[in-house]
Symmetry: C2
Subunit: 546 residues, 2 copies
């Protein structure tokens, strides 16, 4: 789309003098000692060695598999399985770049091999004999197989299947399993797809801050920072006053308020930032540190616009995931059952087929139609549904939807469902209050403490079958006076939020946004048991190793 | 490269029943109450309203400027300048999406306008009269100009120029200036270009953790976490033991060790993560929270491979930046001089032209040739150069290169220069020791405490003229025994790093990587004075507002 002037300039400089590839022994910076051909032939050239910038990374197995048959190739990877016969050694090698292992057929015995060993193999790509899973294999002689990283029998990831709980104990080794490698690739596909969606639609990416002085959320659920002082880590004024000049600094729980700063200068902004909650939970959907995607859009005053943005975004994301990885995961995940699980070690072909079907269904569901209902409609549905279970938490207008309600609702609807327009009392101060209160039908039970106040806000949550809440958002209050009233009502320290009011005082325009729990999306698409299994090095209650 | 099966499935589902666009008043989830045409015509369909996912965001000015002349368009933005004549009102409107403001010509007076006001204007795109900067303008009638966010005369960003120090006091408003908006676009271009580089070369993106139990770096320069306990924020065991079960948790200073976990499962990995240092400095190159790009590659044993990766990466990144933004920045940055600066308010055409030339030169330099020299050569150069100044810190083999040395070196070389193979004693324990020690020429001064030990490591730093260090990396020790010896030598708690040794014990292969200070790259390319000016909401010594 752009940029001829500068690109031409830089291309010209790339076409310029070809620098000799520097090697340490010949490298030199004085003219007389230089071995560089560029320096020798071009007198005006500075007499230094040079970096060419011509990329020569070793091929990955994914790249090698794209080469034509009969090619001689060099392959690097780790041994997955090993089988020695009299005249041949069969080695399955993987490097995590593809769902397929590469079968190496060596025409003789090789010493020093072990599951987990790192190898560099030179060989020829050959068609596999018919009837095998793979279509291509690598043929090599014993002397073409070089051990570049030895492994011994104490390696914890031997061939036998491990439960997900055991693998959580060895976070540093679990990326080497086919399951966690595939999950990492799926996470990567979703990550790029989401970034591309925003780039494609002209959103500006922002690094919103991790450290924040905002006391917007309850103290019990935030982590606080200790900064070094002259005397050590504490002083009388407070743990951060010596460094930051402010007594309390927290880890961010949301970048929304900071996005709003920029949304008043650029109408489409987003961030994809770590966020933190100090909740003491071991639920499968919560982490102490998690990746949150948040976006903010200005000049919109219609909640449906936000719904359409998130529907298109999630659809786009899930349809770029590699189906080969999804199929592999669906095959492997059932075998990861925890050691205490009744299905542990009892996975049969029928279970695997059912898992594959369910995995594909989850993705197709996210790529398909999304339902929409108001909170009022949701409460009526839950209160009157003939198959509704006995609720642990009461269903009534004014009370929050609990996990049990969200789960039932999404399951009954059978596809992703947006629930919109919650009671004002359940939601943060910054959400835009709807002009018209909800009309609550007679068969909807109501919290008597509301005294007939059915004021709602222009918000929405997306509930997904078998997952629960994936994302949530709202229009924001853009009138400075109304916002200040809402702050006072919420008991906030209004003096500390003058900057947030300034955004409205000076050209504050209608705007809104949302936040998506990225780890939950990855968990749902991969089918892994917990968000703890889809984050490279997860942090949660009682876990901060490494 | 992928994915016909699943994409077809999801495309098919998008071609499926077209759901009525949900609006709140007609939305309904029971069949009898439903206004949805889909529900009415397709009896098997769940009777909910639906989100269409058809994106209808309001156009940005960047999009509007691509529309043909005579189009009727709707424009949203904020007033930059305002000029009322007898029969016309001229309004410059901007929305931060392009280097160009849009000139609105209204054929009459409009009330309630003020610099900073948010407007929605309906009008017709017309060619501008010849001789003006812009080629297109928008013609509108007074009643087509709608104020969607008022602003008053207390707005701090009136037309007059502000110094960078004043703008740092209003972090929440400065994105609205042309300068900071352009810097945000440049940052965005660089961000995407770097991600694309890694995606294109098959790297896996990883979210490395922010919270870490690693005590790899000195306590004085890390931030520590306080987690909530039952009793509050402290207990006897330590500030984090109640939540994480470990007495001390820090904010990460580098994701390298965590990348290495995955580099032993996938040979190309990277992270683009916030990093933290509690240094008490107000230098133009340091922040307490900064964005660091780190990558790790396996199966490489040649430092030149790493140099080539980073050369190609930086070249790629800078050549995707929009030249229009660079030119605008070069025009505007000189006018941002701090209030104490001698050039404050004295910017003339010649100074501006010089700034534009210098800005283009900085980018062309990063897009051009990179020099390479060893640390030994660098010390010899600094010690023997006829134009070398009197050094504040001594130049001798065994002492680190200080900012004054790096600055002189890069300036003299006149292009980016890699300095490689530093003395072992200056670098962290994990760097690969070179097999052959350096040969130190007779004219190189030597630290006598080394007692002739010229052992070096396979590392490199990239020094850039007028910036200093931009990135640094190394090959890593991949032998478990040698790494353990290096840990003991460095005084580390070896028991806490068994997992890091495991990476080598079990198929540890030759590998290496680097880290790039992203904010420094943005500072250099934009020409802004400090990294504090290129981060949306910067955190540094004595600064953690918002």
């Amino acid at each position: 789309m752009m940029r001829t002037g500068l690109q031409l300039a830089s291309r010209a400089s790339r076409r310029g003098p070809v620098f000799a590839r520097a090697s340490r022994t010949t490298r030199s910076w004085t003219c007389t000692r230089s071995q560089s051909t560029a320096a020798a032939t071009s007198p005006e050239h500075p007499p230094f060695a040079a970096s060419t910038g011509s990329l020569q990374l070793p091929s990955t197995i994914s790249q090698v598999l794209d080469r034509p048959l009969q090619s001689e190739v060099v392959v690097h990877g780790w041994i997955k399985t090993l089988r020695a016969q009299k005249e041949h050694t069969f080695v399955q090698v993987s490097d995590g770049t593809t769902a397929q292992n590469l079968q190496i057929v060596v025409d003789g015995p090789v010493k020093g091999l072990q599951t987990g060993t790192a190898l560099t193999i030179t060989g020829t790509l050959q068609p596999s004999p018919p009837g095998l899973k793979q279509s291509v294999e690598l043929h090599a002689k014993p002397e073409q197989v070089r051990v570049v990283g030895a492994c011994d029998a104490s390696y914890p990831l031997q061939k036998k299947r491990h439960g997900v709980d055991f693998l959580r104990e060895i976070t540093h080794l679990r990326p080497r399993t086919n399951t966690f490698a595939a999950a990492a690739r799926v996470r990567n596909d979703l990550f790029f797809s989401l970034h591309n969606y925003f780039a494609h639609h002209g959103f500006l990416h922002l690094h919103t801050p991790i450290l924040t002085a905002s006391d917007c959320e309850g103290a019990g659920e935030t982590f606080e920072i200790l900064a070094p002082t002259e005397a050590g880590y504490t002083n009388r004024e407070g743990p951060c006053s010596d460094y930051f000049g402010t007594p309390r600094v927290n880890l961010t729980v949301s970048g929304q308020l900071h996005l709003e700063m920029f949304a008043h200068a650029h109408p489409r902004v987003y961030t994809f930032s770590p966020s933190f909650r100090a909740e003491k939970t071991l639920s499968t959907r919560h982490l102490a540190e998690f990746a949150m995607l948040e976006a903010e859009m200005t000049f919109i005053d219609d909640l449906d616009t936000l719904l359409d943005v998130t529907t298109a975004m999630v659809r786009d994301a899930v349809t770029t995931v590699n189906p080969a990885d999804l199929e592999l995961l669906a095959q492997l995940v059932p075998q990861l059952a925890s050691s205490g699980s009744p299905t542990r070690g009892k996975v049969d072909a029928a279970m695997r087929a059912e898992h594959v079907r369910a995995a594909m269904h989850r993705v197709e569901q996210l790529a398909g139609g999304y339902a929409v209902m108001t909170y009022t409609e949701a409460v009526q549905y839950l209160a009157t549904h003939p198959r509704a279970p006995k609720w642990q938490y009461p269903v009534r207008w004014g009370a929050d939807l609990q996990a049990e309600h969200e789960k039932f609702l999404a399951h009954q609807v059978g596809r992703p469902v947006y629930v919109t327009h919650y009671p004002r009392g359940l939601k943060p101060f910054y959400m835009l209050v709807d002009r018209v209160p909800a009309t609550v039908p007679a068969d909807v039970p109501v919290d008597p403490e509301l005294k007939g106040d059915f004021t709602t806000v222009a918000n929405y949550d997306l509930l997904v079958p078998d997952l629960g809440e994936l994302l949530g958002g709202s229009l924001r209050e853009h009138d400075a006076g109304a916002l200040e009233t809402a702050m006072v009502r919420a008991g906030l320290n209004v003096a500390a939020y003058q900057w947030y009011l300034d955004l409205r005082r000076y050209g504050g325009a209608p705007h809104g946004g949302f936040g998506l729990g990225f780890d939950r999306l990855v968990k749902h698409v991969t089918g892994l048991e917990s968000v703890r299994d889809v984050v490279p090095v997860p942090r949660y209650y009682r876990e901060c190793r490494y």
